[in-house]
Symmetry: D2
């Protein structure tokens, strides 16, 4: 399966005094791509969160910063679902400069489904995992 | 009355590609000072918000940016309570470079007390307004 | 002239514990719209900044927060050029919930052209002011 | 060697709609602690960066999010220098709730020394690595 793809234009506020995107912002750019993936899969997060009464906290996130991105750069963000576990999903990402095709950053994020009241991890609803299969890559080693 | 005073050290993430603090971050630095003022006044925001079931949204914020602040600069933030209305409070702020004494930014913020359920403005609890009198400046024209 | 219009989808990171967009983020959303306006006007900021060796710091920013925006909301951002002075430009903005058409926030931003070396305000290049006329509203009172 | 220790009070802007600190902000809290460590070690970053003409980009960052932190929480941030390589340093961190002593987050950051002009990794100045030995833990396995 091809990954989920979206784009992101680097804004001035994303940069720091080294005139490149601050490393913490790549995690935000990736999360925004994740949100767009849900929308594109027809998952309304506001509805699904109310229906099942959960949050989707992150359990782990890793990023390797390969090359800097600068103000105005158009980035391509690619998401691939790696593992779908009972209570967690691991997805990989790459961020690529759309013009130069240079790899900017890559890594993964592990999200869990947490009950809103107890905060404990609960089983992921089927309607969520079934949709996420769309972008699953069984051969990936994140 | 002298204003409430606190300090803030500029972090790398506060800067942008012009190598100065991004303008949006001054509003965050001022809000952090506001939080410290409540703590210093013995107001536990978590308790008070639960007790009265309100949020403290901002109704208006203005900032004039006078001089740039840079990474590592130690800033002094001064807050003065201007007007205390039934459902709102207006406070003024100045941000000064502690070393050079240069004025970096000044402005004001209007906060309202909003009922958590309805979202409507409600009367400010007395224990809040009484404490805020501590830093009130009757002669200020914000 | 109609204003410059763009849209912005509220991301999770834009929200705070009151489950609405943090007030400081409206300033960032407006700046992002400003960047898109330049791009749409054919102004490459990276080129123009290098050619004239300036920054575009903000001199003043005001926002009135009228109603909350929430995660996933699609916002419409409208920019109107108000005054074009020798060394500064004032533009007004409104942010509207695209679905409900509710006004979320409105205000203005004053930007100045500052020489990179001295930091002093300098005359705005004609190719910049001429382009900005596109979205000028002579009747506006910001 | 004991780790470098500092504290950080969670601000309203650090939280998101789940009423906990947004995961990307832990990376910022850790970077702020790193900056305080340099200051405490007598390293003026503005001076050292000018003298050697380098940036300190991050090459990799990992964080495991163990428990949520909330508005007003006082966090303790602990940094331990793990490996000091020719052109890079890896440090580990833990973030702990100061009151409950609960582990909030842990992970590591790899920083490299990059020449400002070329962007390439260069050898770390001795005055930097010597200072960092202060918080080195030879037995750590990050």
């Amino acid at each position: 399966m091809p990954p989920f793809k979206t784009t992101y234009r680097v804004s001035w506020v994303d940069t720091d005094a080294a005139q490149v995107v601050h490393f913490s912002n790549y995690f935000r750019i990736v999360e925004r791509a994740e949100e767009e993936m849900y929308t594109q899969l027809g998952l309304s997060f506001n509805e699904i969160r109310q229906k099942y009464n959960f949050w989707l906290p992150r359990a782990e996130a890793l990023c390797k910063f390969k090359a800097p991105a600068k103000f105005g750069d158009m980035l391509e963000v690619n998401l691939t679902i790696g593992e779908i576990m009972d209570k967690a999903v691991k997805y990989g990402f790459t961020i690529v400069n759309k013009k130069s095709e240079q790899l900017i950053a890559e890594g993964y994020v592990v999200i869990v489904v947490a009950d809103k009241k107890s905060g404990h991890a609960i089983n992921m609803p089927k309607e969520l995992t079934e949709k996420l299969e769309t972008y699953r890559n069984h051969g990936s080693h994140l």
